[in-house]
């Protein structure tokens, strides 16, 4: 019994990161992804195919974002990871721990301290600065996929800049509901050329992509696509002259910090209809409370 315990203890330390290449991926994979990232930056909004690898986590947990982050991160970077705005949810915590282990980098929950922010479905409320990189985890990169299932067709549609189908979809929303019903993954047009899926961020965050100071990289692991928006790039949410794009508005302030004009999550408190609205961005909420 004692002997086997000793064996386990002797074996364990060698598994603690030292056996991995820096940032987990092998160098050839990183170069392949880096070449894809450069093309993505040169053609804003265009989805560059890449040879996505299996990662030590299931698809849907951010394998695309993780591969992008692993390919750009260096020992001096400071990493922040958010999941729906929160730093302390399972996905965010485990990805942060992953990079601490395989790249030994500094991590933070503070938006302004981070050099790389990997995100699932939010853009931080604190405006991003020049030099920061925002890495999005993307489930379905193709904005036209639910309208046209064939990749060969959607590729041709992008080539021909044929986006009529998307406008028909938005129009049908108006015909049926009186307004554009899409509230997340709201399609945008980048630099007047490519229609792009901003990943399932709430449409509330769409305006933050326009002329951002930060570089925005998007990684879709299962679908094997990387795309990008350079800083200071035009990003316009699709709309109609008589039905202009609008973001969600909240009548109440955050129940914890009292902020207005930010994105709120509804939290259910009991089984009698009790609920409260709080900041989705946990770091922003904490900073507001510290200031008051």
């Amino acid at each position: 019994m004692t002997a086997s315990n000793n064996l386990t203890h002797e074996g364990a330390p060698t598994m603690a990161g030292a056996t991995y290449n820096f940032a987990y991926l092998d160098e050839q994979t990183k170069r392949m992804i880096r070449r894809a990232i450069l093309k993505a930056i040169a053609i804003p909004g265009y989805q560059v195919p890449f040879a996505s690898r299996e990662m030590p986590m299931p698809y849907g947990w951010g394998t695309g974002g993780v591969q992008v982050t692993a390919s750009i991160i260096g020992p001096d970077d400071v990493l922040k990871v958010i999941d729906q705005g929160a730093d302390d949810t399972t996905n965010a915590v485990s990805i942060r721990a992953f990079f601490q282990k395989v790249a030994n980098v500094a991590v933070t929950t503070r938006t302004h301290e981070a050099t790389i922010i990997q995100t699932r479905h939010r853009i931080p409320e604190t405006p991003l600065k020049s030099g920061q990189v925002l890495v999005y985890q993307v489930p379905i990169p193709e904005p036209l996929r639910f309208l046209e299932p064939r990749e060969t067709e959607t590729r041709t549609m992008h080539a021909l800049e044929e986006y009529g189908l998307m406008h028909v979809k938005l129009y049908e929303d108006i015909a049926r509901h009186g307004y554009i019903a899409k509230t997340y993954a709201y399609p945008v047009k980048v630099e007047d050329r490519y229609v792009m899926d901003p990943s399932p961020i709430p449409k509330f965050d769409n305006p933050k992509m326009h002329m951002s100071e930060a570089l925005q990289l998007f990684g879709a692991g299962r679908e094997k696509r990387i795309y990008a928006i350079p800083p200071h790039t035009k990003v316009v949410s699709l709309d109609f002259e008589d039905h202009p794009f609008e973001v969600q508005k909240f009548s109440e302030p955050c129940a914890i910090c009292g902020s207005r004009g930010i994105y709120l999550d509804e939290v259910i408190l009991d089984d009698r209809g009790g609920h409260m609205f709080v900041c989705s961005d946990t770091d922003f909420c904490e900073e507001q409370r510290n200031e008051h």
Binding site: K30, R31, A42, I72, L160, L215, P231, H232
Partner: protein, 201 residues
């Protein structure tokens, strides 16, 4: 091949590649900004250190590299690049994913290079063009994605008729080639989206 022919690669290939790529990524994302490339490499003399570092960080067995006549005819450069990156040197520029050009006069017409297709505009060439300096030449004024308003860049020497050639490249969008300008210790990038105006006078 002597041992001296293959000396001078990255001292720490993993971290040096990352640092060099980081400079390229930032230069590509913010065209016109000059990014230092300070990881030590000692390529054969005709290749400058920044161009060599960029090539080592991006090229491997999956990429074909084309060298201009001056570099291709300089003994040892193809051996050095292949040894450190694993890339194959090709004599056909249309096949190459990367071009390394030391003499601006030898920059091939973009029409003879891979420019991607409307369906796959990413299947295009990236040119690494060696220059002497990024701030002492004739001033180019840049605008486009990644640039707040306009920004100056003064590389030298540049090919004759470069501005005309580049505007033709712009007109191909989303197809086209991307350019990495490599001075000995720093780089600047011109992705295909960057528009160039020449400052009068």
């Amino acid at each position: 091949m002597r041992a001296a022919d293959i000396e001078g690669g990255f001292a720490s290939p993993v971290l040096d590649s990352q640092a060099t790529f980081n400079a390229v990524m930032r230069a590509m994302a913010e065209p016109g900004t000059i990014q230092a490339v300070d990881r030590e490499v000692s390529p054969p003399a005709a290749l400058n250190p920044a161009a060599a570092a960029v090539a080592l960080s991006l090229c491997d067995q999956e990429t074909l590299v084309w060298l201009d006549a001056g570099l291709a005819n300089t003994k040892g450069i193809d051996v050095w690049l292949s040894f450190h990156s694993g890339a194959t040197v090709t004599s056909d520029p249309a096949q190459a994913q990367f071009l390394v050009v030391a003499d601006p006069a030898k920059l091939p017409a973009f029409g003879s290079l891979a420019q991607g297709t409307q369906e796959y505009p990413d299947r295009s060439t990236t040119i690494i063009l060696q220059v002497v300096s990024l701030d002492s030449g004739h001033q180019l004024t840049l605008s486009g994605p990644g640039i707040k308003g306009e920004t100056p860049l003064s590389p030298q020497p540049m090919p004759d008729e470069f501005v005309r050639q580049w505007s033709e490249n712009n007109a191909q969008f989303p197809c086209g080639v991307d350019l990495i300008l490599a001075a000995p210790d720093a780089i600047a990038c011109l992705p295909r989206t960057t528009r160039i105006h020449v400052q009068e006078g």
